[in-house]
Symmetry: C2
Subunit: 217 residues, 2 copies
DNA sequence: CTGGATCCACACAGATACTG
DNA sequence: CAGTATCTGTGTGGATCCAG
């Protein structure tokens, strides 16, 4: 798509020319969480062909969205990082994540969740309010945490040992977050277990609520 | 991409599976302005191959994003319209448009602007404030109007004869809107002419301000 | 005229193997 | 670790054709 243009003088078209290709916004999603090395990106995007990853990174670098930095010795590692311009895609990725969350449904066979997908899920579904609380969320091997204080949310990979509430999910939490199950029912169904009360889990579910699953023809 | 999945349990990935294919979000952009017939969509997207348009419309219909309606006789016309689920992509398209507007730059050879691209440009760059005003904006053949009242903006195709300010653009207004030129300089440069004062044009430019052009490597 | 379907050439994505 | 090389298949682009 880099060479292919849409022929329209339009911000949407320009944006899609820059980041509309397959995998591009998923690479950016992962880099929004933290700078990463080539191998880290591959690990977070297991299905991406390596030549496509290499090509995208070059295109994104060319477009001024990503920078490629060689770390000083002794590490010598190569790190990909978003430029400020690339970081401005945050709102685009969050909007996409918010809209797409409603279609998540069941975990499909072979599908994975990473710390990056969970962090962006929390960030995109966050509804600011009056709550002040901290959470540790576990889903299999993947652990992330979130600190909520009114309008502000900090979400990042890794544990938070002294979180107000620790949540262990045994399956996608969509039914809890879209209102299909309330906190009590989700616990009863074995979807989730927590270190706290039903009320605390309900508050969590309200903070990161997603819309109802859309009807499909 | 409909059959091709990203293998990630992630809202962003789901969204891209549904609307991440080439042309899809541009079709949705045009439908966000108003429902359209097949031929109208072709007219607004001159470079889209007809088979791709037909395929996208089927996929989007399948996904519950677009509906295909046959109008009652005598028109019998077929109209494509967004479902409520599809309309929820508004925020995604606006976020993309806002980000991409900064990279618009010059009008490239063969590139066109339509009423739909102008309407979305106004909507995506609108910065709510204390202003109450109405505008008619002309760019070649294309005429759109906007009514601003504090937080609210209504933008739509077509003229608005009794607008507070009529603006005729002879070239893209990016230099005016990104602060490269101020209102006085833009008028002096022949970029634009208006029915009103320099101050009125400056207020317009402030309402629909876009960020600075990103530096590219 | 609208609303597509069909055909072909080709660029790009997918998969895997290989290298500095 | 960070890619490149190669092969294959599918989706896209572009033009044309066709039915109501």
């Amino acid at each position: 798509m880099t060479t292919k243009t849409y022929g329209q003088y339009c911000g949407v078209a320009r944006a899609l020319e820059l980041v509309g290709e397959r995998w591009a916004l998923l690479i950016i999603r992962d880099l929004l969480v933290a700078p990463k090395r080539y191998t880290d990106l591959r690990a977070g995007l297991p299905r991406i062909p390596t030549n496509v990853l290499a090509t995208r990174l070059k295109e994104l670098e060319q477009a001024g969205i990503v920078t490629r930095r060689v770390q000083p010795r002794p590490s010598g590692a190569i790190v990909y990082e978003l430029t400020p311009y690339g970081e401005d895609l945050d709102q685009v990725v969050l909007a996409l994540g918010r809209w797409g969350a409603r279609s998540l449904g069941e975990l499909r066979p072979g599908e994975i969740a990473t710390a990056e997908t969970l962090v962006m899920a929390l960030r995109s579904t966050f509804e600011p309010g009056d709550v002040k609380a901290s959470y540790e969320l576990r889903f299999g091997e993947v652990v992330v945490h979130a600190v909520v204080d009114g309008e502000s949310l900090e979400a990042a990979p890794g544990p938070l040992p002294d979180a107000d509430l620790a949540i262990e999910a045994y399956a996608p939490l969509s039914p809890l977050l879209n209102g299909e199950l309330d906190a009590k029912a989700a616990l009863a169904a074995g979807l989730v277990s927590t270190s706290g009360s039903i009320a605390a889990l309900a508050r969590f579910a309200k903070l990161f609520r997603i819309g109802p699953t859309p009807a499909v023809a």
